[in-house]
Amino acid sequence: MKNKICSLEKFQSLLKDGMRIMVGGFAGCGVPEILIGAIVASKVKDLTIISNDSTHPGEGVAELIAAGQVKKLIASHIGMNPQTAEKMFAKELAVELVPRGSLAERIRAKGAGLGGVLTQTGLGTEVEAGKEIIKIEGESWLLELPLGADLAIIRGSLVDLAGNIVYYGTTSNFNQVMATAADLVVAAAETIVEVGQIEPKDVMTPGIFVDYIVGGEPHER
């Protein structure tokens, strides 16, 4: 079996300026904090970050924004971190706001090999600008296109050496879908176990989606 365990140094060697990176988590819960820390330390820049939100100051994506490493943020909500809006108004950061359900579904479409998703979310609002509207049996639908990334960093509560993941509580959030939609997927693990210690029926992200596992994600945060 391929050894997927990866050091933070090895993880840093995968990073490049201008990368598109998906970051799992929701409002600070289930964010791969050790990988965020490694990206900050690597000083890569001009990143496009895809994340549900920019969390609170001092954690997660907020740290990448504070360090000036993000060129563009694609997210559904930026209200918990005042610095995101400040940098946006100062034109230091481009922000594309996407309805939360459409964000999840665009990522899912990429991972599931779909050419797009038809939704009524955002019809008649600024969200439809520049997008195709398709009529089916008299009803209007908005075409939302797939969204992928070069790298997805996710957080697993329990990860076996094959990369199978269990997420505790509400930490599956965007982690589960992001694991399917990037060229390279790195999981920060709170606990790493031997293959066979997670029952097949309990696996939430199949190990085939995970390229690398980094241990040491703290349990307390």
Binding site: F26, A27, L97, G101, E105, G169, N173
Partner: protein, 250 residues
């Protein structure tokens, strides 16, 4: 410094102190009454929620609705990040770092509740499996179109899940104060970017309950101590008097 000056100085300081104290008191009173108004709105919204309903509460004022659901009703609260069966705010001992609601608060999950990922969560929302959503709002018009996600150039929190909620949830209740810093909430035309087009079904404020219908806004209830005329004066579109209020007028 002369004695006179000293007396004048200390008197001035004392008066200043008194003014500062009373300003703080007024501030506190305003804050208290703002909190009371929110509780009053939340209480009235809670009465709209039926036994057995699956309900999504927005962040802020709508969250308070959970506190007023009568004990004889079984209500399932959904949270966008991926919960059905939110119990309530977790105490410090109960708080689990892995379990939050969409507003980043630690919550408990009631027996029978469950977790799922955010894509599944929005499938539940868009797919029509949530009965009621309660949302805060900046402006709403007579057709039920509303704005809640940004004030261009000033405050841009983003839409979060609001646009998905109103596209799929069966009943949309807007819970809001009737005015915001003297500006009317219920307007003829939105001046802010729309979050939902013709999506609101009911508007609940501290002064009134207003139903959005094909014919326009129907004033169903007026809070105790207020009159329909007062409500109309604080509402831009013309209100249609509901059956019950008409009957009361004889």
């Amino acid at each position: 410094m002369s004695v006179k000056e000293q007396i004048a100085g200390s008197a001035a300081a004392e008066i200043k102190g008194q003014i500062a104290n009373s300003a703080a008191e007024v501030k506190e009173q305003i804050a208290n009454s703002a909190a009371e108004v929110k509780e009053q709105i939340a209480k009235r919204v809670a009465a709209e929620i039926a036994d057995g309903a699956v309900v999504n509460l927005g962040i802020g004022l709508p969250e308070l609705v959970a506190n007023y659901i009568s004990k004889d009703k079984e209500v399932w609260f959904q949270s966008e990040n991926g919960i059905i069966g939110v119990g309530g705010a977790a105490t410090e001992e109960e708080a689990d770092k892995n379990v939050i609601n969409a507003g980043a608060r630690h919550v408990t999950v009631r027996p029978g509740g469950c977790f799922f990922d955010s894509a599944a969560s929005f499938g539940i929302i868009r797919g029509g499996h949530v009965d009621v959503t309660v949302l805060g709002v900046l402006q709403v018009d007579a057709e039920g179109s509303f704005a809640s996600h940004k004030i261009p150039g000033r405050r841009v929190p983003g839409m979060g899940g609001a646009m998905d909620l109103v596209s799929g949830v069966k009943k949309v209740i807007l819970a809001t104060t009737h005015t915001k810093k003297d500006a009317k909430t219920i307007v003829n035309q939105l001046s802010l970017p729309a979050t939902g087009i013709k999506k609101a079904n009911l508007i609940v404020t501290e002064l009134a309950v207003i139903r959005v219908t094909e014919d326009g806004l129907v004033l169903e209830e007026v809070a105790e101590g207020h009159t329909p005329e007062e409500v109309q004066a604080l509402t831009e579109p013309r209100l249609i008097l509901g059956q019950r209020l008409k009957a009361n007028r004889g």
